[in-house]
């Protein structure tokens, strides 16, 4: 299979997932506002948990668990996006 532009783009996205342990752990905009304005306590926990907070359960190091979760999510989203676009594709191929 020839190397296509989107192979590079997918590799770039996976590379970003490798950087995920470096992300800032400060609260995000909405969380910050909720803390300052005093409604953070109204948040409810998740109904069920699969990979909560982008940390793969059962992996010792948190950095590695975050990278696993990030790579997995990135691949899942590529698959869903690609599959969905294929399903929506024009009938006649145009190149």
């Amino acid at each position: 299979m020839r190397f296509k532009w989107w192979h590079g783009a997918l590799i770039f996205a996976l590379f970003l997932a490798l950087l995920s342990p470096l992300a800032s752990s400060f609260p995000d905009g909405l969380e910050r506002v909720a803390e300052v304005k005093g409604f953070i306590e109204t948040a409810q926990g998740a109904v069920f948990e699969v990979i909560p907070d982008y940390v793969m359960p059962g992996v010792g190091s948190e950095a590695r668990a975050t990278i696993f979760a990030g790579l997995l999510g990135t691949l899942i989203l590529f698959g869903i996006g690609y599959g969905l676009a294929r399903a929506l594709k024009a009938k006649k191929s145009e190149a």
Binding site: K4, W6, L30, V33, Q44, I51, G73, L75, G81, K89
Partner: protein, 212 residues
């Protein structure tokens, strides 16, 4: 800006689900059988990139962080319909697999970061075409502006939902949310401009695909 369950009331969450479902159905109808050959992998890599980039929170002022939304970038490259579908996929996976954003709040989150951000991003970018100057420069300026405004607009929608839910008064939520997201939006603008320049330098044809 992923709203957890509890921040929005049951009626607001329900309205979000109904509106989001309607818009996603409309987006499927608008894009169905219109995807070109090149757009299929582009939609896949955009969904993957947006998910990965959303994990990378960057610090802004005052012990707060922000991350890319990505809806404006997707709307610039593929149009608002496809952008809504991409954002819905990203937000649904984040909610169902990674417990980021509440299950019942998924509708309002799709509304804010999918629908509002995609439409605002798309129309600001299209509106920028009337600016004077070279085509590449205009595309970058309007792309950055579109990205910034898409974040602020999504935060305003979020503030309104919190206020209608009775969680926090609008007079408190609106300036706080819009203020902090005006800063986060600068990051969104910078990332969007960087990706657009990268595409211009390598695959300029991808930018020509979306013609209304």
């Amino acid at each position: 800006m992923h709203i957890p369950d509890g921040f929005v009331s049951a009626p607001v969450a329900t309205a979000g689900i109904v509106v989001a479902a309607g818009c996603v159905a409309g987006a499927v109808k608008a894009t169905n059988k219109k995807m070109g050959e090149k757009q299929v992998p582009l939609m896949g890599v955009l969904a993957a990139f947006i998910f990965a980039a959303q994990m990378l929170n960057f610090p802004i002022a005052g012990g707060t962080s922000g991350h890319l939304i990505g809806a404006a970038l997707a709307a610039i490259l593929l149009g608002p319909g496809a952008a809504i579908l991409i954002m819905t996929c990203v937000l649904a996976v984040q909610c169902l697999v990674f417990q980021d954003g509440g299950l019942f709040a998924l509708g309002v989150n799709i509304f804010n970061m999918g629908i509002v951000a995609s439409f605002v991003g798309y129309y600001v970018y299209r509106g920028g075409a009337f600016l004077p100057g070279g085509r590449k420069g205009v595309a970058l300026v309007s792309g950055g502006l579109a990205a910034w405004l898409s974040v602020v607009a999504a935060s305003v929608a979020c503030a309104v939902e919190l206020a209608i839910s009775g969680t926090v008064p609008l007079g408190v939520a609106l300036p706080a949310m819009a203020g902090v997201h005006a800063l986060i939006g600068i990051g969104e603008g910078a990332i969007t401009v960087a990706v657009l320049s990268l595409i211009m330098a390598t695959r300029a044809d991808l930018l020509e695909m979306e013609k209304a």
